[in-house]
């Protein structure tokens, strides 16, 4: 696998240099990216973070109405505790910080340690974990699920709630409800490779695909031959709807997410089918998102996320927001 990089040890540093150089709204301090405009004033802050290799996640969602800061780890490794601490400090405007990130062991341990340390300095934190990947544990163990692309819905609603001046618990509650109402399933067509590794994380045959694979290449639900896009999309929508929350209404937002190497053309072909299936099931789609929002470097494939909206979440989803990779006017 060819990668446009230099010394693989510098992959993350050089990537971050380029990112902030190209996006003056972002400001970098070591392994923390925060808004160049400064820390939040008099409102709850939101910090996220995780391993590198998922652009635009996480750093790309720093901006008004979304995140205040991100802690960045090495490729597929959680951010270290120091970065977590600094990210939380950068997001602190005196009214507490929501730590909002995906449910992975390393990320959790480091953010937890950072929160413990900061509690001593009087910085209040709350934690909400993204757990949207339905392929990563069954419904009975939903809290053990991994966080994948659907996390950006929680960024959006929590960011909008924070912008209203809500208290930390209220912002965390919105994030929690968003996560509870968001479901994702992924489909991989090809592997990715760690910059420092000698071979791809996994291999798929010339005609093979894997349903349910995680955004780090974690094994999925089944591996089989390639099928038509509509058949794959139908299965994914079916699996997602079978896991709809008990109180889901008929309003839904959908994210058809490219995993990195899949062309936009194919994402739109998938979106077309997904929208038809949802409409046939009586759903009305609001604010669909189609594009590479949460990737796994050069992995080819797609994930579909559904966020089952209620009035309040729909309102927060529609609130203005602006970051380098997502904008709601």
């Amino acid at each position: 696998m060819k990668k446009l990089m230099n010394d693989p040890e510098n992959y993350v540093e050089e990537m971050l240099d380029g990112l902030v150089a190209a996006h003056p709204s972002l400001c970098r301090e070591g392994r923390v990216v925060r808004r160049a405009s400064g820390s939040p004033q008099g409102r709850v802050g939101i910090a996220s973070g995780g391993g590198s290799g998922h652009l635009p996640l996480f750093t790309g969602y720093v901006g008004p109405g979304l995140l205040d800061s991100c802690a960045i780890g090495n490729v597929f490794e959680g951010p270290n505790v120091q970065s977590c601490e600094e990210a939380i400090r950068a997001a602190d405007g005196g009214r507490g910080v929501l730590c909002l990130y995906g449910n992975y062991g390393g990320d959790r341990m480091n953010f937890d340690m950072a929160c413990d340390l900061l509690a001593e300095d009087g910085i209040a934190t709350a934690t909400v974990l993204g757990t949207d990947d339905i392929a990563s544990a069954d419904a009975a163990q939903a809290e053990k699920r991994r966080g994948v692309a659907g996390l950006i819905y929680a960024y959006k609603t929590a960011g909008a709630a924070a912008a209203t001046g809500a208290e930390l618990e209220a912002v965390a509650a919105i994030a929690t409800r968003t996560v509870a109402r968001t479901r994702t399933i992924g489909l991989a067509l090809s592997s990715c490779q760690l910059p420092t590794a000698e071979k791809p994380t996994f291999t798929l045959g010339e005609d093979e695909i894997e349903m349910g694979m995680g955004i780090h290449g974690e094994p999925g639900l089944w591996r089989d031959r390639m099928r038509p896009a509509d058949a794959l999309c139908a299965e994914m929508i079916e699996r997602l709807l079978a896991e709809a929350p008990a109180d889901a209404g008929k309003r839904v937002s959908i994210l058809v997410n490219g995993l990195g190497a899949t062309p936009l053309e194919e994402l739109f072909i998938v979106y077309r089918c997904a929208a038809q299936k949802l409409e046939a099931a009586g759903f009305s789609i609001e604010r669909p998102l189609v594009g590479p929002f949460v990737t796994s470097m050069e992995m080819a494939g797609v994930s579909i996320s559904l966020c089952f909206l209620d009035d309040e979440l729909a309102g927060f989803l529609a609130a203005p927001a602006e970051c380098p990779f997502w904008r709601v006017p």
Binding site: G78, G105, K144, G217, E218
Partner: protein, 217 residues
Amino acid sequence: MSGLAVADLAVALARLRDRADMLEARLNEADAKLGDGDTGSMVARVVERMAEVDLSTQDDVGQAFGQLARAASAATGSSLGTLLATALLTAARESRGSEALPWSQISALCAAARDAMAARGRASLGEKTVLDGLDGLAQALDGLDEPAAMQAAAREAMTSTLDAFRDRPCQVGRARLFAERSVGLDDPGMLALALMVDVALPAGEPGAGETTRDVAR
């Protein structure tokens, strides 16, 4: 009084650094099967950062463990790396102020590290993780205070723990989700511990060496 001194740590780190490529390749491969394929690159980086720590003027084992904990923790935020840093921090607390940690206390130190890691990772013994490896080590070293015997026991413990868990399902970390699939495969974290123990210790007796060479094949 004989025991683990800072110089022993430096020598162990030098050995680990020498074999970092082997660790990287084998552990990435193990993690690629069950997780996200990064255990090896992470371990290699953590080893390198720890080996870069200048311990030459340090006499206090506890302080040395503390320096290594900080180096490890700065180098990664991955599950295993964070747990390793937790273990080193525990070791630092347990041995602060001494120039040599008595060999007889190594077992207790492993047990303390195991408990701290379990608390940090919210995991339990028996779930087929690095914790079970450390638990095997703590048990095997219990009551021993002679380095050569301890080395042999440590290697033997790692081999037998890997064997004992290989055909059981992983229940924590990324691998828990594929319980069946993990049957027959070594847990990457446990394997990491086993390989690192094997590499860090001086080459053992031919017999013990065979066993662990097998592990490190």
